[in-house]
């Protein structure tokens, strides 16, 4: 797969592909070992988000470590034209703060995406995962809050069309008191796309003062599309806050009437409602070229939003 121009022209970027690697003033440090690839951030201040672009069928497992010296922001683009397999481990040092966005793009056949996250004391991680790839995708996403006061906020956008499928297992476990997790999953299924999303939040005994929340919402744009979400909470402590919610359905007729009553035709109203799922993610991309790349990938999937 060719590297999209918007990614090639990024200033703070590390690009790894079968042809080798390219760094442009990369604000992280990178070590490519035989058994894994290690990235470290949080030691140098960043003027803008650093990017890691990975092209091809996958790499050795990737470990990304965030140190506490400075807050970090990293965007990871996984681009594949065929089948690919990715394995990430994110490790947050005590007191570190980071924002990591994952973008999966490309008309792939099969994608396996595995991620494990560990958040230690006082660390704060904001994750965004944007699934714009095609074909069959399996996701295993496990997070553990290991330190007191650790915070994880994770948003996922899954956009599926045609015969795409997504099977995701997402879990967060609170192994420390006063730890906080907040999971938000937004799913769009068009045509005959199928989604099965299993989400579990668990607070182990002894971790009082923890908060564990999850929201799942999905919109069906195709007659044969389906979204199945199983939200679960496993709570073994009294003094905690926990909640989950799930709303899946076709475009709400009250919403359509409301937008139409302001002069929007059905197609525009539907597009606007669907943009309610995607726009919060698009807004994360302040670089116009990256925004266009996102919108182009989105348009290829649900251009008509019908």
């Amino acid at each position: 797969m060719r590297i999209p121009r918007a990614l090639r022209e990024l200033r703070d970027v590390a690009i790894l592909s079968a042809r080798g690697r390219v760094n442009h003033l990369f604000s992280g440090s990178m070590a490519v070992l035989r058994s894994q690839i290690r990235f470290t951030f949080g030691t140098k201040s960043q003027r803008e988000a650093a990017a890691i672009v990975l092209i091809g069928a996958g790499t050795a497992p990737i470990v990304i470590r965030f140190k506490a010296a400075t807050p970090s922001k990293v965007r990871i683009f996984l681009c594949s034209a065929a089948s690919s397999s990715w394995n990430f481990a994110i490790r947050m040092d005590e007191g570190s703060t980071a924002s990591v966005e994952f973008y999966l793009i490309g008309a792939t056949e099969e994608t396996a995406f595995e991620r494990s996250v560990a958040v230690t004391s006082g660390a704060s991680l904001t994750l965004a995962t944007i699934l714009l790839n095609g074909g069959k995708t399996t996701v295993q996403d496990r997070s553990i809050l290991t330190g007191e006061g650790g915070t994880l906020r994770s948003e996922t956008l899954g956009v599926l069309a045609f015969e795409d499928s997504l099977e995701a297992l997402q879990s967060v476990r609170h192994d420390a008191p006063r730890s906080v997790s907040d999971l938000v999953n937004s799913l769009i299924a068009s045509d005959s796309a199928q989604v099965v999303f299993d989400v579990t939040g668990a607070i182990a005994k002894g971790n009082a003062g923890s908060r564990c929340k999850q929201q799942n919402r999905g919109v069906l744009l195709g007659e044969r599309a389906s979204i199945e979400v199983a939200p679960k909470l496993l709570i073994d402590e009294f003094d905690v806050e926990a909640g989950h919610g799930c709303a899946i359905g076709r475009i709400n007729s009250d919403e359509l009437f409301y937008l139409s009553s302001r002069g929007l035709d059905q197609a525009t109203a539907k597009r606007l409602i669907v943009s309610g799922y995607t726009a919060p993610f698009a807004m994360k991309l302040n670089d116009p070229a990256l925004r266009r790349l996102f919108e182009k990938a989105l348009d290829a999937k649900i251009g008509g939003a019908s």
């Binding site: 937004s186 709400n252 919403e255 009553s261 302001r262 002069g263 929007l264 035709d265 059905q266 409602i273």
Partner: protein, 272 residues
């Protein structure tokens, strides 16, 4: 100046007739108030004129100037100049208020014209400031997390931005505290002009202290049974709807006021 003509309108919901032979003419520059007990069809009238798919027009016609809108889709009615400020505006997560209003304004423009975004922003901000809606309004998601009062003010803001010819304000007073009621009332009154005809739907006369109607209609059991001026408001204020039973020979309607059902701070003050 535009004119909305509702002629012998009969409307049903799920096979039950709600509106019966309703006639109403609203000219630009006029403010009409439709009052009546709960469940008499006031909101049905507003929704039917807007084209809500839940309501079936069995017979009659709705004309906006020379255009018969009776069977037009909702969006075409809106672009023709009809506006409905809703009783319960829906929340649309992820869609910012600004993007929504901008898209709605653009929907009214001809294809060869472009929205002048700078002018639009200034107009939006001025309208929001007038309604005391705070500077962050543009970037908040449409009605999501809005208080009842904020939702109603947001409806008025949209009305200001879309500049309709005929506007129905369906219980725009519910959910408003006394101060918000005054702000909304003043904003709506300031919009009065020969270019806008308004229909206020309300149970309670308090809103009409702020927005003075030219005509007052009383609707009971799906019919407009009496039309008059502000003297009707005073009579309803002092006697409720009970006197209509004897005067018009109508029975079998619940004329009791239900202030608890309104649930507004304004009513709480009113009922003390």
């Amino acid at each position: 100046m535009s004119t909305l003509r509702i002629q012998k309108l009969n409307v049903s919901v799920d096979g039950t007739m709600i509106l019966k032979d309703v006639d109403l003419v609203v000219n630009g520059g006029e403010t009409h108030a439709i009052m009546g007990p709960n469940g008499t069809g006031k909101s049905t009238l507003a929704s039917a004129v807007m084209g809500h798919p839940k309501y079936t027009i069995e017979s009659g016609a709705i004309l906006l100037d020379d255009l018969d809108v009776t069977h037009l889709p909702v969006d075409e009615r809106s672009r023709a100049g009809i506006f409905l400020a809703m009783q319960n505006p829906v929340e649309v997560p992820g869609v910012t208020n600004f993007d929504f209003v901008k898209t709605a304004v653009q929907a009214r423009m001809s294809a060869d014209k472009k929205l002048r975004i700078g002018k639009f922003i200034l107009e939006f901000e001025a309208a929001a400031a007038k309604l005391k809606m705070g500077s962050g309004l543009a970037h908040r998601y449409l009605n999501e997390g809005f208080s009842g009062g904020e939702k109603k003010r947001n409806e008025i803001l949209q009305m200001q931005m879309l500049k309709p010819k005929i506007a129905f304000l369906d219980e725009i007073d519910s959910g408003l505290d006394v101060d918000a009621l005054r702000i909304v009332g003043e904003a709506v009154t300031a919009m009065k002009s020969p270019d806008l005809g308004m229909v206020l739907i309300t149970h309670y006369e308090r809103l009409l202290d702020y927005i003075i109607p030219d005509f007052v209609h009383i609707m009971i059991k799906g019919r407009i049974v009496k039309t008059g001026g502000r003297e009707l408001i005073r009579k309803i204020d002092s006697e409720g709807y009970d006197w209509l039973k004897t005067e018009l020979g109508i029975d079998d309607f619940d004329e009791r006021k239900k202030p608890a059902a309104l649930g507004t701070c304004a009513t709480k003050v009113f009922t003390k």
